[in-house]
Symmetry: C2
Subunit: 142 residues, 2 copies
């Protein structure tokens, strides 16, 4: 999660909403990313999607079976769907996101009966730091 | 939708689940794609995500305001989230997907109170052909 938080800081530095994510396999980071929707002109370029795409490319497999994802913010519906498709085993997220999150809020993607693969979910790790990064970012933009 | 169906056929030809999508702006196709999760080793490479990413790159903007998306199958949670983030104005989908769809089934992403942007949704256009493509594909793999 420390690495995910550093990636979130990097996002803030380049003017993107500060969210960072890493995919870990057997203790090693195999993919990482931060939010870069604006600079990449890509609405799908959330931290989780970036990290998952890189990890899948690195493994040469569209399934990340047995891998864990660490992300500083509760995933949205798009990212929760990507996590499920990628067969991520465990998700650790930092700050909850009542407005945009779709794991423990809103669409609750993993809780749907039709969800083919739901990871184990753990929240709160690095929450204070992750939330403060977001608060600071939006405070500066106001 | 004819172009989306042709893209779905192309997906089947290369061994991918046959789903195709196009993004249209003022009557012109500005992005298109088909499912290539396996060949690209990318669990996020659904037809809609591919079409949206290309359209956003083409416009140089992460928002596809005023654009329409035509897709042969009801979008999943990941794709519905991407559609919302991209600010797509109208979604036309062919076949409903009770097992994996998240527009009129399951997570119903656009119907969530927290959904910041919900497109208008129209279904059934090209449904018979889209469904037959999928049935034929899965029949052959059994």
């Amino acid at each position: 999660m420390q690495r995910a938080l550093a990636l979130a800081q990097e996002a803030a530095r380049v003017g993107e909403v500060p969210v960072g994510a890493v995919v870990v396999k057997q203790g090693e980071i195999i993919g990482e990313g931060y939010n870069l929707t604006r600079s990449a002109h890509d609405p799908t370029a959330h931290a989780e999607v970036e990290a998952i795409r890189r990890a899948a490319k690195a493994l040469g497999d569209d399934r990340l079976t047995g891998c864990d994802l660490y992300v500083t913010l509760e995933p949205c519906a798009m990212c929760a769907g990507a996590i499920s498709h990628a067969r991520i085993a465990r998700v650790y997220y930092g700050a909850p996101d009542p407005k945009g999150g779709a794991v423990d809020h809103g669409a609750r993607v993993f809780a749907q009966e039709q969800c083919l693969h739901a990871p184990e979910v753990y929240s709160g790790m690095g929450e204070a730091e992750a939330a403060e990064l977001l608060r600071g970012f939006f405070r500066e933009r106001r």
